[in-house]
């Protein structure tokens, strides 16, 4: 086991482990990627192919955590709910994605040496 791995473990202590479920990571990444523009509930549902129950619960979790905010928008006369990333959410997503990259790289190194 190399020191990179140990520092990874140390770094992981700063991450919000509640976000580490596939759907929450997908939501955080999808909403972060469109920045200020935000993304509608129906777009998330269609693109991620998740049920209303799962989507609503996990979006509510991300809102409560302060990582996303929601607002009503109008599109072609329809009122829709749109989700935007917050500064806190963006920082959390950057921290998580950087950590995941290091984690994958570290796994590769360990496999080569082992």
């Amino acid at each position: 086991m190399n020191s990179d791995f140990l520092s990874l473990i140390k770094e992981s202590e700063a991450l919000n482990s509640d976000v580490f479920s596939l759907i929450r990571l997908l939501l955080l990444s999808s909403i972060a990627n469109v920045g200020k523009d935000g993304v509608t509930y129906r777009e998330l549902k269609a693109a991620l192919g998740v049920s209303d129950g799962a989507l609503f619960t996990n979006l509510s979790f991300l809102e409560k955590t302060g990582y996303v905010t929601s607002k009503e928008i109008t599109l072609e006369g329809k009122n829709l709910k749109s989700y935007q990333i917050t500064q806190e959410g963006l920082l959390a997503w950057e921290r998580i994605s950087n950590w995941l990259k290091k984690f994958v790289e570290c796994g590769g190194k360990n496999n080569e040496s082992g």
């Binding site: 999808s30 693109a47 599109l75």
Partner: protein, 176 residues
């Protein structure tokens, strides 16, 4: 990245956006994508996001130069060929309906950007834009095809061959 050219295109299609409006930002994203596919390159990189083809850099630029975009201020002038392409766009997408633009841009991404066959591209559009009706999808796809389809040499030859009997019949009837 050339926001000036984007603004010149918006000016040509007489679209004066309000940047704080979600709908207007969506229209800008899709108009620029479709025009880039047509060959009016304003150098914004697009990738497939949850909203279809999308350029985060374009959003950033639009916000950073909000008042210039809203007032359609630009130092860029489209050349003749670009103006013709924008004119064609204007004729096809005259209403600038977000639903039609979204479908057209998403279909273009799969069919012309990723070179997917017609059926696969259509299936992917239906999956990503499942909240739109069959009719909205059909209109968007057909407009994308009309705007961007460029027949290959073989397709042109086949088409001429297919039309030959009609043309001969028409010529014959004209001769009396």
């Amino acid at each position: 990245m050339n926001l000036d050219k984007v603004v010149a295109c918006l000016k040509e299609i007489s679209f004066k956006p309000k940047i704080n409006e979600f709908q207007d930002r969506l229209i800008i994203q899709k108009v620029v994508y479709l025009l880039q596919r047509k060959g009016i390159d304003s150098n914004f990189e697009y990738n497939l996001h949850v909203r279809g083809p999308y350029s985060p850099d374009l959003t950033k630029e639009v916000y950073d130069h909000k008042s210039a975009v809203e007032r359609l201020e630009t130092s860029s002038k489209l050349n003749n060929s670009e103006s013709k392409k924008v004119e064609e766009f204007k004729e096809l997408f005259s209403e600038l309906k977000p639903s039609i633009l979204e479908v057209a841009a998403t279909y273009s991404y799969f069919a012309f950007g990723q070179n997917q066959d017609v059926i696969t591209a259509l299936q992917n559009v239906k999956r990503m834009k499942s909240f739109y009706s069959e009719a909205q999808i059909a209109v968007g796809v057909s407009k994308a095809k009309e705007f961007l389809f460029r027949p290959s040499k073989k397709e042109l030859t086949d088409l001429k061959e297919e039309l030959r009997p009609w043309q001969e019949a028409s010529a014959k009837s004209m001769r009396g």
